[in-house]
Each structure stands twice: as C-alpha cells, then as structure tokens.
Symmetry: C2
Subunit: 223 residues, 2 copies
C-alpha cells in the first residue's frame, strides 16, 4: 500500500490514491446515476474483468466512497451505492468528462456507448440558464439499446431510463449527437443529413439542442 502511494501530503495525490486506480472513476460515474448491482456495473463496463471490478468495489467500500447494501425482500439483491463522500465526486467527474469530451473524435473500433455514460453526459453538459422557464420532456434514442427519458422543468433536468409518459419529442440519433453539443453541427444540418430523426414537434429540437453544450471545442489531437 505504501508503495502504491505517491508520498505527497496533497489533496490531489490523496484523491488519486483513492480513486486514481484504473476503472475506479468509471465505476463511480455509473454509480452517480444511481445504485447498481454487480451485474449492472459489468454491463456498463463491458471490458472490465470481473475480478478487477470486485477489487475496486472492495477498495472503494473500505475507503468510505461506496456502500454495499442488501435490498429488503423480496428483491434481496445487493447493490452498490455512493456514500455522501462519494457523491461529492460529481463535480470532479463532470469537469474531467467535459475536458475529455473535447478529444472525442469518431467512434473507434470496439467502442461502445452506454446508457449511464449518456445520462452523465446530459447532466454534465446541461445549461440551466438555457432552460430557464422551459417545461418539456424528450426521449433520446441511440441505437436499439438506449432509450433515455429527460424531463426539463425551469432550469433543471432529470434523466432516467424509465419512460414514464409520452415525451413531447423523440430524438433518434447516433454518437454523432456529440457534435451538436460542441456546436460543430447545427440542428438543421443534423436533420438534413439524416444524423438525427425526430418524432414530435420539430420546433422543439432547436430548443433542446441549445440546452446542452461542451465548452472549449478543440480539434482532435493529431496522431
């Protein structure tokens, strides 16, 4: 353990000792969306070896970041959830994610998109000031697997996997949806080029697109 430490009395060094191990922050990203079972986490992190997931959860639990909880009957499932301290990582995760999103170019081979990552992306890029006084709901579809329901109420947003009621607008798109958030792609162009398909009032789409933003757009790093 001492050999894995950084030997520095420093907040950042301590943070990296706690959540800097490989996979740790991606686990926390998914737990920021809600409590998850072991298998849920595996599904959201397809390439994580199960023993590594097991190790990380034990470390995070030991360090007071994650809590293991057995649900009451009849569910009887064990779930992992963030503690108060773990929840406080949200701002750091958001800032890192916004920074990294600027380097998202094309989808690479073997890269997947998961519901939890999109949920966090929507929450991270949401601009309350652009949603002030607005009340609407939309469903975001990406591929056959992902259907997220978002409810916007006067500067706030709730994203969930359950689509409780019929949304005002259904947005069907691929990963290139990201280019809308960086403003590399205009809503009109996205519709014209067939990158996005709508079901509902098309006028709402512009409004929705304005509500999200990835700041500091930058070209892809040359390799």
């Amino acid at each position: 353990m001492a050999s894995r430490g950084y030997g520095q009395y420093c907040g950042l060094a301590r943070a990296l000792e706690l959540v800097g191990e490989r996979w740790a922050l991606l686990i926390i990203r998914d737990l920021l969306v809600g409590p998850r079972r072991f298998t849920d986490l595996r599904k959201g992190l397809p390439r994580i070896p199960s023993n590594v997931l097991s190790d990380r959860l034990k470390e995070l639990e030991r360090d007071g970041i994650v809590r293991r909880r057995v649900l009451p009957r009849p569910a009887s499932a064990t779930v992992y959830e963030l503690t108060e301290y773990g929840l406080q990582l949200e701002q750091a995760v958001i800032q890192l994610g916004l920074w990294g999103a600027q380097s998202l170019g094309e989808v690479r081979a073997h890269e997947v998109v998961t519901p939890d990552s999109i949920t966090m992306a929507l929450r991270s890029t949401f601009r309350p000031e652009a949603a002030r006084g607005k009340h609407l709901s939309f469903e975001l579809r990406m591929g056959p697997e992902i259907r997220l329901h978002a409810q916007v109420e006067d500067g706030t947003i709730q994203v969930s996997e359950q689509h409780s009621e019929k949304p005002d607008l259904v947005i069907d798109c691929g990963p290139a949806f990201k280019d809308l958030l960086t403003r590399e792609l205009s809503p009109e162009a996205a519709l014209q080029q067939g990158i996005v398909r709508l079901d509902g009032d098309p006028k709402l789409f512009d409004s929705v697109a304005q509500m999200f933003y990835i700041p500091g757009h930058r070209e892809t790093a040359h390799v």
Copy 2:
C-alpha cells in the same frame, strides 16, 4: 494501446485514457504552476522513477497536452509547459484536489510537501468573495524549504516562489495549516498552540485565514 483503452465512447473514459495513468495528473498539477524542467519535476515528485516521468511526458506531448520547448540562449534549458488544452485541466484538477483534501489526515511516514502542491492548494481554496476589496501580501513558510509569496488584490491572488518585496505578514507553519482551511482549527487556537507563528501585524492573520476554504469537511475514513 488498444488494450489500455476503456472501450467506451465517453468523455470521462477519454480523459482517463489521456491523463489517467499513474503520475500524470501530478505532473500536470506542477505544470499548472508554470513551465518546469525535467529536473524540477523530479524534485517536485520525489518518488517518481525517471523513466516513468520520461514516458509520461512523451505521452502527454504526443496527445497535445504538454509542449516541450527549448529556451533561447543563454538559458538553453528545455522546459515542459502545458498547451492550451492542458491548461483547461485546471478546473478538473482543482475539483479532484478539493475532494481529496478532505481525506488528508495526519502526514504519513515518508510523505513530503512540495512548493507546487501548496501553490495549487492556495489557488484552489482561494475564495474571491472573501478577498473583495482587500489588498495585502503574505509569505507562507513551511519548514526550511518552502517560502511562497502571495499577493492579494481585490478578489484575485498571485502565488509565486519569488519574494519580490517585503510582505505585510509572514506566516510560519507546518502541514497542520490545512486544518485552518477546513475550519477544524481556528486562527486563535493555531496561534495559542504554537502551530502557526507570525511576523507582522497579527490582525491580518484572521483576514488571510478567511480567504481560503476546503469545503465539505469530513472525518478521516476509518481504516
């Protein structure tokens, strides 16, 4: 390289692929203070193997986060500095550092404190609203090695290693200085218990202590 990726099209995953390797964010922390030579970085990261530092710098340079620059004569030294993109990591580094600072308990064996980490700590915990309208300078001393000069001008702060002129106040302290920032320790108690010694107008000390804050104080995780 593909095997080191996370296989996710996600901003956070991409960020971790770029700066999630061991030591990378600590290197970036020091570079956020200013350009640094290879040897400066080694001094600020006493436990990093030189080959790892060399590898990280090459990776960060390849990914457009760090730039290697040869200074004009007569210096002729090569320094590493952050690119525009690298500089944009500041908020993420600050948020992670503030979160981790809550778990800083006592100084552990073999843990050191470095000037650059303290500089970033001062910048991270500075509260502009508490320094509105204030104009003062102070020198922070920790041990025989660290002497930082801070200049506060109406809601802004500049921290440097050069002490250009005589400061209004000299604050001599140890790592327990952190407890002032979490408000676990009051300025009066710090003076009474000899944790902090002053040279200058003691009335300024209270004012300075109010200018910095580590939010969300929390007990040390039990082991």
